[in-house]
Amino acid sequence: MYNVKIETFEGPFDLLFHLIEKNEIDIKDIPIASVFEQYMEYLNAMQEMDLDIATEFILMAATLLEIKSSMLLPKAQPEGKQLELDDVDPREILVERLIEYKKYKVIANKLKTSNVYGLRFFKEEPEIKYIDKSLLLNYSADDLKKAYIKILKRSNSDVIPIKYAKDQFTVEDKIKEFLKNLIVTPIMKFSDFVFNRHKVEKVVSFMALLELIKLNKVVAEQKKIFGDIIIKKLKR
């Protein structure tokens, strides 16, 4: 079996370039048939490796195939007319785009070497003693909104800030509450304890319960999955 080393390609142009360089092909005279064959080998290998093949790769395969077939067709040469001029090489558009793309690929490599992001540090704010606090009023509440919306639009939508329960319910507090309640009602249902409480409070209560079990202060029993939890105070 033909063994193709799979690298990741930044799209069909990137793959085509790889093939052109590998075969030391003159970009202006691409042997479409053989390049098409190799291109398909890569695509098949990518498929076998379960790599997602983007539609762009398939589209390019279709383009190559189209060029290949149009090159096989005998050209209808009108009698006596000396070809050229209107006789466009079907590869021309592809080559133009490839050359255009290659320019940016070369530039990208140049940028890569001159990139000092993460190496060179600038300060982002003026020295504090030179910040004039009176200048602040230049912004309105509306500027705040605009700034925030701008951020939301450019950030990934899956980033949602967690609303923190700011130490509102703590395990420690809940343990105390449990112990206090258990003095009055030594056997109680968990559902009664958290009845009508905030979701976070329920979670914290459950954690407090686990802690109490660990501390051997209570035993808890649940007859069936999702059933209620019966809490019994342990006598010392």
Binding site: Y139, A141, S155
Partner: protein, 168 residues
């Protein structure tokens, strides 16, 4: 000497005091070595009338500008700097305003970039304050806006922040 200039670069980039301990750990030298570097740097800055200076505050070192040139600095910054908060600071402030209380990590997740300096500036302006800690491992600091924030932005209360519903 190399270590002097590494310290110089760290103090510059920090833009705030850096603990001598931190420097000694990072450079793998003793705290005394760091202090010696500090004195050497300070000496060369002062004796040459350099534009920058270093100071020791408690157990930290910080870079600052030379007081001698304060008049020039004020003039230049007055002319050049767009007034008020930087865009970065404004963005961080807006995130805090709409999501308080919130941790630095979460702010950075939303903004996609570090924002320690902006937070320091906002604290300095008293537009935000530390407001407790997350009740979870790490106990990260939570930030909220202050009363001064409401005053500056002419808001009777946080409920009067421009609503976002119509845009998202």
């Amino acid at each position: 000497m190399d270590i002097d200039y590494i310290i110089e670069s760290i103090l510059f980039a920090a833009g705030r005091p850096v603990k001598i301990n931190t420097l000694s750990n990072v450079l793998n030298v003793s705290a005394d070595d760091v202090k010696e570097s500090f004195y050497r740097l300070k000496d060369s800055y002062v004796s040459n009338n350099r534009g920058i200076d270093v100071v020791m505050i408690d157990d930290s070192l910080a870079m600052c500008s030379n007081e001698k040139y304060a008049e020039y600095i004020k003039k230049a910054l007055g002319l050049d700097i767009k007034q008020g908060l930087s865009q970065a600071a404004l963005e961080v402030l807006s995130i805090i305003a709409y999501n308080q209380p919130i941790t630095r990590i979460d702010i950075e997740k939303i903004r996609g970039v570090k924002c320690e300096k902006a937070i320091n500036t906002l604290l300095e302006f008293n537009l935000i304050k530390e407001n407790g800690r997350v009740n979870a491992p790490g106990r990260a600091i939570l930030y909220s806006t202050t009363d001064d924030f409401l005053k500056y932005f002419n808001l009777p209360s946080l409920k009067d922040l421009p609503p976002l519903d119509d845009v998202i």
